[in-house]
């Protein structure tokens, strides 16, 4: 029971983290029609910035805030210098160009921070276990991730659905020429959206950093997961990304936790312990394949065009 509740919360936490990453990706994808493979690099940069700034300032929170600012600036610079010129080009051009950016970022990180990973230590007040149910304790930091991510999801929803900027973003997604003709500075809007996506990726990276090590290439595996999520959820749909992210986070975590025991019932111990991680990693891709075969547009396609 204890294990089930704990793994369930872990799944929720991982799912929410994936949502932060996927939300930025799906915004950029849905609005600018840009396939940004370098989104995972922004996630990595968020983690590296946080580790560095936290070490400088000696404060986790201050470091995290500075890192968010830094990823925002980095995203805006990236958009204005390179990615802006890719809008309206073929998706294949996007893949190639942003693949180049991944190479660049990985190497730049190796040059600046060295090949060894960094650690981002947590402050003491975030490491205590918190009682959530009678007799069940859960790490405060993971709870904090859940709360922060839910808050961001809510703000994002309100921002996109209830504010003027959000209205412009939605309008830009459905018809970019028209919104330009109505006198809206579409270029600025795009830069803003990209910056927002970059900040969300950075937030996901820096929140994940204390749980895993901060290392080169950390953004690549998770980027593919984020892509899987937006494809399952339907490209451009924040709601779809949210539900798919929770779903994928749960499957991944619960699969890793319980599949080895399940497999041990049918396979020998050694075979089960090597097959289980591979099988649980596969589950997500299997899910995506099934979704695409049954509903080629994703589960919650955004209504556009």
């Amino acid at each position: 029971m204890l294990l089930v509740v704990e793994q369930f919360l872990n799944g929720l936490q991982f799912g929410l983290l994936l949502f932060l990453l996927a939300a930025g990706l799906t915004l950029v994808f849905g609005i600018m029609d840009l396939v940004n493979l370098a989104h995972g690099s922004l996630y990595m940069m968020g983690a590296y910035f946080a580790a560095t700034f936290a070490a400088w300032t000696g404060s986790f929170l201050l470091g995290a805030l500075l890192a968010l600012g830094a990823t925002l600036v980095l995203g805006i610079v990236l958009e204005m210098s390179a990615l802006r010129h890719l809008y309206g080009r073929d998706h294949l051009d996007h893949v190639l160009a942003t693949f180049g950016l991944i190479l660049f970022f990985n190497e730049a990180v190796r040059l600046i921070w060295g090949p060894a990973g960094l650690a981002l230590p947590l402050p003491a007040w975030l490491t205590v276990p918190v009682p959530i149910l009678p007799g069940i304790h859960y790490p405060a930091y993971r709870l904090a991730i859940i709360v922060v991510a839910l808050l961001v999801a809510l703000l994002l929803y309100l921002g996109v659905m209830r504010t003027r900027i959000g209205m412009l973003i939605r309008a830009g997604a459905s018809n970019r020429e028209m919104i330009g003709a109505l006198g809206i500075n579409i270029k600025l809007l795009y830069t803003l959206v990209f910056g927002l996506g970059a900040t969300l990726a950075g937030l996901a990276g820096l929140m994940q950093a204390p749980i895993l090590t901060v290392q080169i290439g950390m953004g690549e595996n998770i980027l593919i997961l984020a892509f899987v999520i937006i494809v399952i959820g339907g490209i451009g749909s924040i709601r779809g990304a949210f539900l798919a992210a929770i779903f994928v986070g749960m499957i991944d975590t619960l699969g890793r936790a319980f599949l080895p025991n399940l497999l041990r019932q049918v396979l020998s111990g050694a075979a089960a312990s090597t097959a289980a991680p591979a099988l649980s990693s596969m589950l997500i891709y299997l899910l995506m394949a099934i979704v695409l075969v049954v509903r080629p547009e994703g589960l919650f396609p955004a209504n556009r065009r």
Binding site: R89, L96, A97, G100, E220, I224, P277, A278, S281, Y285
Partner: protein, 314 residues
């Protein structure tokens, strides 16, 4: 017409270079360059097969590295089980790739556009994780191929020059095949589907069936590259199927010129030589390579072949 001749001249030069390379390697007793080019030729073969569906068929597969792994594992696993004959290993590698392509093609082709890119990627990642889970065949660490495929004395794969020429012959054979396919009725239908699927369907062509056959042919060709690659490195691991490898193949095709016969070969040669060259200048070669790719996308439309064409016309 002049534009055509510039790119043709460069292509001819490159092909002559590839054919004469072992001679240069022998005269300068530079063994390294022969090993390097064996790898280049094999990956050029993989890129050429990707170009068949991507450039001519308009199917953007982001999971082509899976076939490299399947072909490689077919050789590695059979060798592990004591079947060293290439007459068995290579047909099995090709058949396994074809079956895999048939299954994932039938499912993937239900989607299009970005969704197709992503679903092919997902299947390749699945193949990657399956290989990582194969405890008997090394799992994550990969599988060492202790003995290269044995073609009953006809050709010795452990001889560097013979192996190089075998790879080159396979490359030329595949390109010849692609040339025949592209100019056949079947190839014209596939290219028609790239331009306008609805119209082709309205004329009465079963679109998916044509695309699937093309997809399977391409996958089988890439499986051949995988079998050769496992023989070249004497090793196969899940890493050959990782998604960045599929990205590499796409880069080679786009860099060289999508939808041209020799573009992918040119792309593979340039990309891998550039990687080799830059990594000798600096440890941080990717710092230059990354932005270079970006610049190529922004300014060099149509890849190297396209640029050569423009120079000619210029």
């Amino acid at each position: 017409m002049k534009g055509l001749s510039v790119s043709k001249a460069v292509t001819a030069l490159m092909l002559a270079g590839l054919v004469l390379l072992p001679l240069y390697s022998y005269l300068s007793s530079n063994i390294f360059i022969l090993t390097l080019f064996t790898r280049i030729v094999i990956l050029a073969l993989a890129a050429a097969s990707l170009n068949l569906i991507m450039g001519f068929g308009g199917m953007m597969s982001f999971g082509h590295a899976a076939y490299l792994g399947i072909g490689g594992y077919a050789v590695g696993m059979l060798a592990q089980e004591g079947v060293g004959s290439g007459w068995i290993q290579f047909p099995v590698a090709l058949a396994a790739s074809a079956i895999y392509a048939l299954v994932i093609g039938a499912l993937s082709l239900r989607t299009r556009g970005v969704y197709f890119i992503m679903i092919t990627l997902a299947f390749a990642q699945m193949a990657y994780y399956v290989a990582s889970g194969l405890a008997r065949y090394g799992g994550d660490d990969g599988l060492t191929v202790y003995k290269r495929s044995d073609f009953s004395g006809l050709i010795n794969l452990s001889n560097r020059t013979q192996f190089y020429y075998l790879c080159l012959a396979c490359l030329f054979g595949v390109i010849f095949l692609i040339w025949r396919i592209v100019n056949s009725r079947f190839g014209l239908v596939v290219q028609g589907l790239r331009s306008n699927e609805q119209r082709m369907q309205a004329i009465g062509f079963p679109a998916k069936r044509y695309q699937l056959v093309c997809f399977v042919i391409s996958g089988t060709m890439c499986g051949l590259a995988g079998a050769l690659l496992a023989n070249n490195t004497d090793f196969v691991s899940p890493a050959v199927m990782y998604w960045t490898r599929s990205g590499d193949l796409m880069v080679m095709v786009i860099l060289g010129g999508m939808g041209t016969l020799f573009g992918p070969v040119m792309g593979a040669v340039v990309y891998l030589l550039l990687e080799e060259f830059l990594s000798q200048i600096t440890e941080y070669w990717a710092l230059i390579m990354g932005p270079l790719l970006l610049l190529i996308v922004l300014f060099g439309r149509g890849g190297i072949m396209g640029m050569l064409g423009r120079i000619g016309r210029g």
